[in-house]
Amino acid sequence: MPAGSAPVRVFVLAGNGTNCEAETAHAWKLAGADVADIVPIWEWAAGRASLDGYEVLVLPGGFMDGDDLGSARACAHRMRCTRPRPGGPTMLEEIVAFVRRGGLVLGICNGFQLLVKVGLLPGGADDPRPVTTLGPNVRGRFEDRWVRLLPDAASPCVFTKGLSEFELPVRHGEGRLLFVDDAVRQATVERHLVPLRYSLSGLPTDRYPFNPNGSEDNAAALCDATGRIFGLMPHPEAFVTRTQHPRWTREPRDLLPEEGAGLRLFRNAVEALRGA
């Protein structure tokens, strides 16, 4: 297949408490994906759907299993325990195999929490151990507010390539990124696996509410060393058109174009896969 025409087929996981699958699939289509299928988790768990035939797996926002045991914990447990085919690999093992054969994985909000809790971030497919977590916000509350995000230009992350500071909404109660120890934090930072940081006036910030949750290193996102697994607390699918921005009625179009900044993340992924 010639470069630039490789297919981009997106598997958007849904059900059991996901909330953002429709607008997330919509964003992928706006970004030019060929297919963005919303796939119910029970169909996958029962072996009636699989990651075969897809290039992207998306874990969208929501409250899987109600987050009743802590954000995404019950769902992480589900992915480790469930074998879609008797005697076959678990759902988690299927994701690992999917990444090894070149697939991209995007986790947004609850989906990011899931990637962290199954250990795919920041360790990646080769070392899926939970060494970070997303704990309760330092103020102990769920909050919906827009934040500024500063990309790390040196990050291997496929999704954030070439971006400059931009805004997205956060909507979570457990988004505080914490590392198990300093060694893990250092290694993660040195390898540029924190692709986005909460920022104020162009610099990373630990000030509430600009850093809404008190994350270590002001991290809003993580990727693995390949840059192909990416998770973030903010919602890029919630800013794909101008009228979703909180100040669209006052900003001119040169500062705030028709296309929302969040769509760039999806476009980056589509372009990377097209060129593959």
């Binding site: 953002c20 429709a22 409250f63 447990h77 325990c81 809790k117 704990g135 909507r171 919630a238 009625t249």
Partner: protein
Amino acid sequence: MSGVADEATAGKVHRIEVGARVGREDAAGRRLCRRLRDDLGLRVDEIRLVDVYTIAADLRPGTLDAFAAGALADPVLQEFAREQRLPGAFDWAAEVNLRPGVTDNVGRTAAEALALQLGRPLRDGERVSYARQYRFAHGPARPEDRRRLVEGLLCNVLIEAYRLWEGGEGWFAPHVPRVLLDRKPQVRTWRLDLPDDELLQTSRDNVWALSLAELRAIQAYFERPATRAVRAGDRLPPEPTDVEMECLAQTWSEHCKHKIFSARVRYRGPDGAEREVDSLFRTYVRGTTETVRTAKGPDDPCISVFDDNAGVVRFLPEHHLVFKVETHNSPSALDPYGGALTGIVGVNRDPFGTGMGARLFCNTDVFCFAPPDTAGELPPRLLHPRRVMEGVREGVEHGGNKSGIPTVNGSVVFHPRYLGKPLVYCGTGGILPAEVGGRPAHLKYHAAGDAIVMVGGRIGKDGIHGATFSSEELHEGSPATAVQIGDPITQKRMTDFLLVARDRGLYSALTDDGAGGLSSSIGEMARTTNGADVDLTHAPLKYAGLDPWEIFLSEAQERMTVAVPPARLDAFLELAARMGVLATTVGRFTDDGLLRVRHDGRVVAALHMDFLHEGLPRMDLRAAWAAPAPFPVRPAPPADLGATLEQLLRRWNVCSKHYFVRQYDHEVQGGSVVKPLCGVRATGPSDAAVVRPVLDSPRAVAVAHGIAPKFADLDARSMAASAIDEAIRNAVSVGADPATLVGLDNFCWPDPIPSPRNADGEHKLAQLVRACETLHELCVAHGVPLISGKDSMKNDYHHGETRISIPPTLLFTALGQLPDAARAVTMDLKRPGESVYVVGRTLEELGGSEYFGLLGEAGGVPPDVRPEEQARLYRKLHAAILEGLVSSCHDCSDGGLGVALAEAAFAGDMGLEVDLRPLAADGVERDDLLLFSESNGRFVVSVRLGSEARFETRLAGLPCRLVGRTRPDGRLRVIGLEGAVVLDQDVRDLETAWRTPLDLNGEEVEVRDACR
């Protein structure tokens, strides 16, 4: 809960404690310390929270450790201990668990996780239950203070139980709350041939809330030969069974049949003339809609009104808009969290159960509480307003956020008399396909022979008598079983399933199991086919031992009743099983004119459908206006108008509600266009929400509301008119086309039926009549059809000599449409040098205003409306907005023009100079009265540079005056009637004053410091 035992299970019981690792902070614990200090004035140095899972199952230590490590404890933040105390230093501890039978969401999720790990379903008797443990460092030492602490904030003893550990040896033993009903289900019969007082006492004892006339009508029905013949055939005794009495009581409850709104009312109004109103509902609600629809002719937007669980109107060719607003006041008074959570997930099921089922796209919430600084001893059984406020807030947070439905619009309203009952209004909008399977989706298609299938959660004693209980005043003995805990995740799974089943054409109708449970949903659906044959034997129960009447009446949450044609039944049940949703056939629809209920092989109820729904005798009521006519009063003018404005901005009903807004997801689903907060720093209070429910269409819905209980005591007309006009203004402000508006009316009233304990009942009913007349007048004048509504008529508290009745309250919700979302307008001033207009007429209408409230002045003339002129004004203003002439538009309501100017200025971080002299003001001759009158029908509008002439032409002949200009200096300056500057304030200071009183998340200080 009578008949409910609370015992440890036989066999193995394990206990796992999970808590933060040493050195990791506990954010929830810190937040609790703050609340203890702020709400109860108790100092505690540290609280640490521990999650306790009690597992009744015979499992090996290794299995349990793997379960704890894999599913329960976060490996980075937490550690766990099995069968022993999690280490830690603390002085005393409290452990709180749900009472037996109360929905345990965490326990249920943990049980599912355990089953996944074991690779098998849990067996009978195996279960996981959850408890919260609080560990205290220092804090009160006296036992009564400790109990006050726990019961005041941590444990609602109505639905929860707690144990204390106060040091020394020993520790909490494993404890499994379990319902043990060691009894066989029974059916008893009731004799109705009793003397009046005994009969009424029986009704009260059983929470039937039936009147004597109603009881005698039932007695007469059971004596009819036709009734007797049916009963003989079904081997039923001649006397009614408890299933029948309970079913009639709930079907005939005020909550379900709206008896007051249907009554014949003899009304004497303020003018002294007497006349009869034959049903408030038919005359003023349905009557309004019929008049407006006829006048609109081909532009009538209504598709289905008053026929189903929610109103349906036109939106796009392929999509209809569905909306419903409900209240959940009484349960929220008893258990604010559970009551409000159930309120929001309950109203979700109304649009969801409309027609063939709608996808839900937004929630609204309006709360009425007593002020948070309410002081003094509270009457028995009442919770402090702060606790009510936080519980309600959190219940709606969990219900809305977890369901993935954005909360886009709301209010928090304070009045001292909401101490008697808080009001919790929850609304939900949905999108219904115009057609499903080639036929209109706003109708239902079930027929005799279709199976009755119950879908969703299991049945327990929860919520029994909710309908009849909410038809009573709150008293000390109000039943705890009337409270339920909602379970958003079970409901989410159910609605996901039903939407798939809808699109596959697997059912013919569905409806919500709300008040009255199965008896109500089946009773309603059976009207279409004229009968149903129900068998409760295999209905899924939470625990054994329920009587048939309890199964039939239970209001256990997260259930829908679905009609499934026999040919689709297997496919329907198979899909449910695949999606992990409980679905059980509980009967079939018939056409023999009877609602028949069976249990365990015998008939336990047989009621004629026509008697069940039409047999209720109508009430005859008297209404007599007994309030003096308001007259103008003029307190002395203040020395400093700037300081007065700041004080007004700090008032509970004016100040920023960002603390609530921030904790509700208002953007999920991606349709957000105008958010609750707008402007440079997102500090401005938007007048209404604008949402695009269909992502590939620019067409948007404006969701607005108005509520004005503060005018109710002076004149119910002002209260109703101000609510309706404010809702319409708010919708017009954000750009909705007034020609597209539809309305929803939600009345919450104090009991309007006189009794020795309710001496002014006739006046309360007269207030209701007057509010209804006003509703009719305004909706007709503005061309707004009512598409749905609800009333809640017993919002009183009674104990001994204490009676607290809420102020009569109408919430009016207005929905408008914008063909193009990009035409929406927000309330923040946009750029310097723009002309600012005040649109609308200012009168001396300060009775009930925030200004008079600040001055402690109880009198005065409350605001009225001039609907003909105002309707014309709104149409012209909309034309100007549509033309793109308007850069900002803000409604004037609480706090009047002064507050509206301040809000528009600080939201835009913009200076503003305004001259009061050109105002269209009829005889108001004082600066303070002009600034703080709360006359309806007014807006502050800024106009784009160069568009002034066209704007003025558009509004020619209407009260619209150029009053000033925006400036880059960040000051609000007002020039008074004498031509001098009478107010000159920094807009950032005004913003701080407005944002500080309810800044419970501490956001204001941080933002202010960072932005300076």
